[in-house]
Assembly symmetry: C2
Homo-oligomer: 141 residues x 2
DNA sequence: ATATAAATGAAAATAATTTCTATTTAGTGG
DNA sequence: CCACTAAATAGAAATTATTTTCATTTATAT
């Protein structure tokens, strides 16, 4: 999927296609790693005369809700976002390279069997699961 | 495992057995849910004439390093800790009730097969994985 | 009991994130 | 192409979370 597709997603979500949103999408499209809001701000502030923190925070959150970005969980519990080509439609998880920060999608997940066993053992009802895989990507290993 | 066991763990880690540490351990032993540092502070401040935030933060982090507590990941990326009976020795994950916050250990995890498939597909080396399961516990469902 | 290294409190510093509000802008329909 | 309206934005300030600093106190080994 490329650029235009994500612009269409904005429109479908009734989000206006502003220069800053376009810049953010392009930035993540070209850098498939995870970034904090502050890092995104630094990367893009040169492109605009004015660029406020609240704009970055708000847009990252909106793009995450739309399914263009995803949140990445890091030990230093700060906000981190990465591009998410698969969107929210397809259930999937993420592999994060601990060296370069690259993020890749992992579609394969036979969690159903595991879930059933857990439900039986704990007598509970599982409604969600979060999996994040860490390691070294093909370039870093 | 009960109280004394965790006191021993403190000693083995060369952490002094102070009244505040004892109170924190007892608190988590009795409340098997996740709490923010602030919530722990509120719960315990009545028991001490003085109780500072840094003490709470420091001790929660230390107890997590020792393996008595574990960090729980929540959408509002704030710090959350819960009691972790299995410690760091046994690889395991956590089930978190989204209604009452109860945390239970999940020992079962056949992640190895999944990991192998991912490594093949992404040509990567997996070194860690984080899984957190959400749902309703036996009492809440 | 004493010595010593570790733990603590209080205040301040740092940092992250959100709110508020006036202004600007994208998208729409003429 | 222009005008209108709702949404997006900047900038500053507020809020909140977390950490640092350092002087004092305390647990524990001797």
């Amino acid at each position: 999927m490329k650029y235009g597709h994500y612009i269409k997603m904005l429109r479908e979500a009734n989000l206006k296609v502003t220069p800053k949103r376009k810049a953010i999408i392009r930035f993540f499209l070209q850098n498939r790693r995870y970034f904090t809001p502050g890092e995104v701000w630094i990367a893009l502030k040169g492109k605009f005369k004015h660029l406020g923190f609240p704009t970055i925070y708000r847009n990252l959150k909106e793009l995450e809700e739309v399914g263009i970005l995803t949140r990445i969980s890091q030990p230093n519990q700060k906000l981190h976002y990465a591009f998410c080509p698969l969107g929210k439609g397809k259930k999937h998880h993420h592999f994060v390279c601990e060296k370069c920060g690259r993020v890749r999608e992992v579609e394969f997940c036979n969690f159903k069997e595991i879930a059933e066993e857990i439900e039986k053992k704990l007598d509970c009802k599982i409604t969600s699961h979060f999996i994040q895989i860490g390691g070294l990507c093909s370039e870093c290993k």
